[in-house]
Symmetry: D2
Subunit: 265 residues, 4 copies
């Protein structure tokens, strides 16, 4: 599966991920305290993870639930990132947040609810950081790929696609992780595509098999939620892996990535 | 069906719509030129319409299609609105547009793709104009009603809900206009709800029966696209009514509104 | 709205429904006992209803819930139907049931789960009774209309389409009643189309507004569940109207049908 | 991944598939002629395949398209199966077909459109052959697993589940292959589950990556369409693999199956 994907190659090189390893972004759903974030990042670094997700602002369906620490989290996150020398991936919810997030983040994430916020996409096309574009949970593949073009035509070519589940009538999972979009993206675009099995399923008990499946389908990497103590997480605890299961997942997906990379198509 | 809905009553009173008439917002999908807009508004006023939709910025799935006249349209629109003394309804796509749109618009519209742009909703909660909140095409009714709360809890109570079609597997229509949400909204909220059969179906040949059905289901009004010459429209021509059919629709929905208002519910 | 629809005209004539009245099929979800069925049919006849739904076999998602009285119900149902001289509409679940159901039923119903049971459809095309074809809850309009052709090409032209809700991501209703299919059917086929707001919503508190809306959209009639005591029904009690609300619904939909028939399109 | 699944173990043993190999069912969408079927089965046997799909009756959305060879195919199919000593998997569309299909088939398949044809499921519970139950394209996982119970409670425990794609709003694929159901089935049932990436995607250019992904997700096997000359197939040619790509797929999925079986969970 020799694949010419300059955006992927450059992104891996920028943080020292070897070519034969997948691009893994991991971390807690929200930064709840400095100690829990420090503990998590330390573990991630020990396992060779270079990209850490650090949610500062949280988009929530209801205005009455936990909304993230907000700007207070910035200092905490910056301190921990510097201590372990990791690159941060943070979600941007409106154009005004771009400057302040850029002081700590290495990659700016567009969440599923903003995939068709074209005003925001255009602004992200005019700034220098790479953009992680999550698929709208009701977007078909064509709309997903066209959203990336809103960023690129403004001049910023560094877009990474991220499948994170679509809405269907299935009720056993929070969303339906759609792995079909992985081989379709490889045929239809020249952008990297990663998969988020945590949000895509909402169930930590099926995250590992779906992570394996994503890599087997040809994904360039994963975005995974990990938490020191999932049952006590302030948000999305049901879908977070604990440290032990994260390590197990990592071993399996690295092996399948290597296999697909050599023998796969 | 005596219904206590202060937001609706105040909105109708502000522009002189009688209590026994539905709240109709009509106009072209996009303002293409001063003459087409003038001609359309003149017709609307002759039929007693007080709210005119005036699209300035257009959110489009593809960055490669017509994106609206943008700020150049403001002057044209303001001139025509003043000439005919109508109230304008304009879509706001990002917080930065609020001040400039407020110079001409009487109602600010949130489009389907921004229904869960919570940052924008909060900003609209802190300004004085009423907000027309379109349902996300992927939102269930609970998410729709919760989105309105993002505006209201910041202090702006004047939110009008607007059903505009959801995404399903049906391919004969652009979206599936979901009228079930109308009686559900009447049971679950104290906000007015109107229906947009133009975007909701994408087919002008079924707009009239669906407009009748919306009012029969208990909707407080309609948002309808009308164009002097639909086949030549720069966007959404397939779903726009011409003047003659608009007049026919108006007569039918006013009769059903009066009937439902007296004997219905 | 003068509409040339010979199947509809003949069906109404066969039981004495006037041309300016909608085709209403009403009755309990399942026949639970002779007394409850007798009481219900008596009320229906007093309101001029000529078609009574009489569920004998019940298709249920789980094999562990109430499955209907089965063939024991046949004698009961036949006796009551003869007493009040009503025409029965009964669901057929497999070809083997056709002969026995034909001894009491005047119309054979195909349920939503059998809409694409092509073997059954073909058999129904080779027998003389009219067929009420319910839309598959995941079928688009084209598949729905093509299913009717499976019956007709075998020689039986008397098919009545029935919209009964499609599956979407909405959770406030059991299904999403899709009224768009009504005007589409009028444009695309020469068959009558009726609407079932009881199954289509699963909530008796919105059945009346959706029944009004269905007729306003141009439906030729309705199929409605009614029960002497909905909270005590053995199946689908939540969606059944009691006698008082059924009478209220009837008055409203007859008025709208008359209005749409004269002035509507 | 030591998994106690007696139905799977017995089924593999009955035709001599080793425990460390996946259960593969392959063959053409429809048997078009004896020579094309013979050529295909010969190739399959050379690659160690023991279960051959042999469509005799074809359910089609439109009554105006190719409907399969019907009973004429029986003799042809039986002759080829005997020549190569393979076990046949054939779809049963109505109860009346069970006796005649049982003269040649070793496994009876229930198609997606019949998953909730409960009358048929009950009949299959009263006969001795194993049943391959395809998921309804509109069924959620719970309905899928409950459908299997309709067969089992009549006495036939030998049911194999088969994911084959669900209907979503995505238009780049014919259906959306839902791999989430694989780990869910392993948690919620004791039945084997296989995946059909051919119908599930409708595109032969993504069948191989999705086949890999299915096995990586924990599927017990695959059902795959293969055709000597896909562009000339009378039905479903777009989704069939040619012989060369089938062989490539087989090698990859066997390797991943072995890996998941040892190290996976």
């Amino acid at each position: 599966m020799t694949r010419l994907c300059p955006v992927l190659t450059a992104l891996k090189a920028s943080v020292g991920i070897p070519d034969d390893e997948p691009l893994i972004i991991a971390g807690p759903c929200a930064v709840e305290s400095e100690s829990m974030f420090d503990e998590t990042v330390q573990m991630l670094v020990e396992h060779g993870i270079r990209f850490v997700r650090a949610g500062i602002f949280k988009p929530r369906t209801s205005p009455f639930t936990f909304q993230g620490m907000g700007e207070d989290a910035l200092e905490v996150i910056g301190r921990v990132a510097a201590k372990y020398a990791v690159a941060l991936v943070s979600e941007v919810m409106e154009s005004e947040q771009i400057p302040i997030l850029s002081t700590v983040a290495s990659v700016l994430q567009v969440g599923t609810r903003n995939m068709d916020n074209y005003a925001l996409l255009k602004r992200l096309g005019c700034q220098p950081l790479p953009v992680l574009l999550k698929r709208g949970f009701m977007a078909d593949s064509k709309e997903f790929f066209l959203a990336a073009e809103y960023v690129r035509r403004e001049g910023n070519e560094r877009v990474v696609l991220c499948e994170r589940g679509i809405r269907t009538f299935e009720s056993a999972t929070r969303n339906t992780l759609d792995l079909n979009v992985v081989p379709i993206a490889r045929l239809a675009t020249d952008l990297p595509i990663i998969v988020d099995p945590s949000h895509g399923t909402g169930r930590s008990d099926i995250v590992i098999p779906m992570a394996r499946a994503a890599i087997a389908a040809g994904a360039d990497g994963l975005m995974v939620e990990v938490h020191p103590n999932p049952p006590k997480a302030l948000s999305d605890g049901l879908q977070s892996l604990d440290f032990e299961r994260f390590a197990a997942m990592l071993q399996e997906v690295r092996a399948i990535y290597a296999f697909v990379g050599e023998g796969g198509r």
